[in-house]
């Protein structure tokens, strides 16, 4: 009897110690990420053997981890949304900071565009004022530089997105391989009689990080081992993990490199989802808008500018600055950035001695004429006073001796701007826009009028009206209006990302609170447990001491009798 009583007491001692250990574990890990609180499940020992009514004490072998896998999955999924929104918002804020809009005090592109066109207006009012001329050239160079700077800025954001993407993919590969290892250890330990709970903690912590990066989900939450899927690809299954590759080139997709799962993996959530969206769609979209704006600016200004004459008067020759890829190819297919349109080209031949002007008109049909054909047409129409030649894909037109030429007429085609003859801007988009070489440090060379008269600002007036002129290239919008929609669009994207981030944060807070209500460690509870199990320990010890005393008493009687 004494043996049984002592072992009952001992089971209580062991239970109290186990429970105190568990409380200790809970208290020390109360702030450890991924840790779910443990509880000892005490149960009465089931007696075995013939005397089934015999008391056998307490069983404290089972320790459980308090965790709701459904809530855990929700926390992971909302966290994936949150990190996606956070990444988007962070980068979109960087991008809109590059714009410096809308405050004119920051001298953003909209303000520089106003200044550029207003300087044309000022020049129209005073065409031969050298200060006004220089101011205009400065404004044009500054605008061109700012457009290039913005392009470079967007590209550097794009490359930092791509670097982040590559680092995140590396991190995902590290996590999936750790998770596969965890699965392997769990399987081995389960077959040996039970996996340590710390492996479950580790599994959940790894899963949480994976979800944040990719939005991946554990498709077997009820199993001890995790099966992780994202976008139809299985990242982890049992002890194997799938290695992902970062996009090979900017704007590319994340791909899987392994055997039967090789190919693009669609990741639309988490940090990587956001980075892919930025790299594939958002930033290229902004770049494309910036380039449309810039090429629209270049072609509108150049088209009007080509019709002008500087105060130096008509010139002896004019050469194109945009070359065609093939002088025998039809102009429409000759690789010109600004597509030439069909219509009448007018070249004025000016007799230097008399000042008499003879307009020569040439029909331009880009779909049936090559640059060589155009040169021939000019030669034929020029009556010996004009010579046109093509060299290196560039057209040059020269006036015969004693004559000069200009293009001061309402041109029916944009061929001059398309070929870059008598240009104001050079370049095709935001990557290479610049003031035409002929005008650098040559303010007097600005073609402000349609005659050489010092007070003729008619061409400058026409250019100054372009800022607010509707253009088909911008869907009926003006240059200034188009830029406003671009900036508002970027602002709306950034605002939406920030709002999504706030909403996602609130959702994460809510589900995390619910999850913590189950899995979190409460120090007050642990204190109560410690007190309770300390008491249990003390009482069991007292009980065993009492049993011991009883045995001692019995022995002393027996020895007294003998």
């Amino acid at each position: 009897m004494a043996d049984a009583s002592l072992s009952i007491g001992l089971s209580g001692i062991i239970a109290a110690q186990t429970a105190l250990n568990v409380s200790g574990e809970n208290i020390t890990n109360s702030t450890t990420p991924g840790y779910a609180r443990r509880q000892v499940q005490l149960a009465e020992n089931t007696p075995t053997g013939p005397d089934a009514n015999m008391e056998t004490g307490v069983n404290s072998d089972t320790i459980v981890r308090d965790c709701n896998m459904y809530l855990e999955g929700q926390v992971q999924s909302y966290n994936a949304g949150l990190s996606s929104a956070t990444t988007l918002s962070q980068y979109l804020n960087q991008i809109q900071a590059l714009l410096q809009e809308p405050n004119s005090a920051n001298d953003p592109i909209s303000t520089q565009l106003d200044a550029f066109f207003n300087d044309w207006q000022a020049l129209a009012a005073d065409p031969n004022d050298s200060t006004t001329q220089s101011t205009l050239l400065d404004a044009a160079q500054q605008l061109a530089q700012s457009l290039q700077d913005l392009q470079n800025g967007l590209q550097s954001v794009q490359s930092s997105v791509d670097q982040d993407l590559s680092a995140s993919v590396t991190q995902v590969n590290q996590l999936t391989s750790e998770l596969a290892q965890n699965n392997q250890l769990t399987t081995a330990a389960t077959s040996d009689g039970g996996a340590p709970l710390s492996l479950e903690d580790q599994r959940d912590a790894l899963m949480a990080q994976l979800a944040q990066l990719t939005g991946a989900t554990n498709t077997s939450p009820q199993q001890p081992t995790a099966t992780v899927q994202v976008g139809g690809a299985t990242l982890v299954s049992g002890s194997t993990s799938l290695t992902l590759n970062a996009p090979a080139s900017p704007g590319g997709s994340v791909t899987a490199g392994d055997g039967n799962q090789a190919g693009p993996v669609s990741i639309t959530s988490g940090t990587i989802g956001a980075l892919l969206q930025l790299s594939q769609t958002t930033i290229p979209g902004y770049l494309q808008q910036l380039n449309s704006f810039t090429s629209g600016l270049i072609s509108m200004v150049n088209e009007q500018y080509a019709e002008g004459v500087s105060q130096n008067g008509p010139s002896t020759s004019a050469t194109s600055t945009n070359s065609v890829s093939d002088a025998t190819a039809m102009l429409a297919e000759a690789g010109l950035a600004v597509a030439p349109t069909q219509g009448q080209l007018t070249i004025n031949v000016v007799d230097n001695a008399t000042g008499a002007q003879t307009p020569i008109t040439i029909s331009v049909n880009p779909s049936s004429e090559s640059l060589n054909d155009l040169a021939t047409a000019i030669n034929n129409a020029g009556g010996g006073n004009l010579t046109a030649a093509v060299s290196g894909g560039e057209l040059s037109i020269s006036a015969a001796s004693g004559y000069s030429l200009d293009f001061a007429a309402n041109q029916g085609t944009n061929i001059l701007a398309s070929l870059g003859i008598n240009p104001f801007f050079q370049g095709t988009d935001a990557s290479d826009i610049q003031l035409a070489d002929a005008l650098v440090n040559n303010p007097a060379g600005i073609a402000a009028g349609q005659s050489a008269d010092s007070g003729d600002g008619s061409n400058a007036t026409a250019i100054s009206n372009l800022e607010s002129a509707a253009s088909a290239a911008f869907g009926g919008n003006s240059l200034a209006g188009y830029w406003q929609t671009v900036v508002s669009g970027i602002g709306t994207d950034a605002e939406n990302a920030t709002e999504t981030q706030t909403t996602a944060q609130n959702m994460v807070n809510t589900v995390t609170t619910q999850e913590q209500a189950i899995s979190g460690v409460s120090l007050d509870e642990e204190a109560a447990n410690v007190l309770q199990y300390q008491q249990l320990y003390t009482d069991c010890a007292h009980y065993m001491a009492t049993v011991g005393q009883l045995t001692q008493t019995l022995l002393s009687y027996i020895s007294g009798v003998s």
């Binding site: 009028g449 005659s451 008269d453 007036t461 406003q484 508002s488 602002g491 209500a517």
Partner: protein, 306 residues
């Protein structure tokens, strides 16, 4: 529901995050004085601000062009009003000469006076403003009136060298206005008429006294006609001036309105923000102090061990 220390700490952090971010935004608005500091603050207002900024910049440029045109117009008006009074002297001399009582030497004396008037008129026609000729149309670098002189230095031939196209000023919204007239329109007739009068007073053709008188009478009529057409040209410059003045005041009004529109879109209401900032600070302090107090409160362990 179980509330753990972790939950409490994360609630505190959420509160701090939320109110710090609110206070940060309000502080930015207060320090810049603007409620839209980046496009995402209000994408719609951003578009409106940019449009209004463009409009204001355009109006400022329009006003500046109008000011230039007004200066040119005023200078042209001054030169023409000087010419008007010279012409009236010429007419007085012609009237005197035409009444038939003057002797040949008196007529010569009047001829000398009219010659001086002719020189002054040429000078007026070739007036410049800031280096540009006022009456040579778009050929602002070329003196509009060129003359040849005889051996005595007297004006012989008078030609117009300028352009027939008026200088026009873009005064905004696609409109343009001229500020002056060409010497071709205003001065050529006047100058040749006055020259003819001078020649007849000096009797350079050696006419009989009777024929000279008849010629001078004709000249008087011609001077009167020339004077009235000159007055019409001067009135045209005057009409440019009044158009420009009225445009200027219209533009100034529009500018004032546009600036107040911009302020509506852009400027922060500092009084309102100060109040919002104050209330955010109060809320921040409340949440921090109440949560911090709770976190500092002894937990069960403190009672058990104490």
């Amino acid at each position: 529901m179980r509330v753990t220390e972790q939950t409490r700490a994360s609630l505190l952090l959420q509160g701090i995050d939320q109110y710090s971010s609110t206070m940060n935004t309000l502080n930015e608005e207060l320090s810049t004085g603007m409620k839209v500091n980046e496009p995402s603050d209000d994408p719609v207002a951003t578009g409106a601000i940019m449009r209004t900024n463009t409009y204001i910049a355009d109006l400022n440029e329009d006003i500046s062009v109008i000011n230039t045109a007004q200066s040119v117009s005023q200078a042209a008006g001054t030169a023409m009003s000087n010419s008007t009074s010279i012409l009236s002297d010429v007419q007085t001399a012609a009237t005197e000469a035409a009444n038939g009582t003057e002797s040949a030497s008196q007529l010569q004396a009047l001829g000398t006076q009219v010659n001086q008037d002719l020189e002054s008129l040429v000078q007026d026609a070739n007036s410049q403003f800031e280096g540009n000729y006022l009456f040579s149309g778009t050929a602002t670098n070329t003196a509009p009136i060129a003359v040849t002189r005889d051996a005595q230095g007297n004006i012989q031939d008078i030609t117009y060298e300028g352009s027939d196209t008026d200088v026009t000023y873009p005064v905004g919204q696609g409109r343009s206005s001229a500020a002056s007239v060409t010497a071709q329109a205003a001065y050529m007739n006047v100058l040749s008429t006055v020259k003819q009068l001078r020649d007849d007073l000096n009797n350079t053709q050696g006419l009989s006294s009777q024929d000279q008188q008849a010629a001078i009478s004709n000249d008087l009529n011609a001077v009167t006609t020339a004077q009235s057409s000159f007055t019409a040209q001067a009135a045209e410059v005057g009409s440019y001036q009044s158009l420009l003045t009225s445009l200027n005041s219209q533009m100034q009004n529009s500018l004032t309105n546009a600036q107040s529109t911009l302020a509506n879109y852009q400027d922060a209401n500092t009084a309102q923000i100060s109040v919002q900032l104050q209330s955010a600070q109060t809320a921040y302090q409340a949440i921090v102090s109440s949560e911090a107090n709770q976190m500092q409160q002894p937990d069960l362990f403190s009672y058990l061990t104490g």
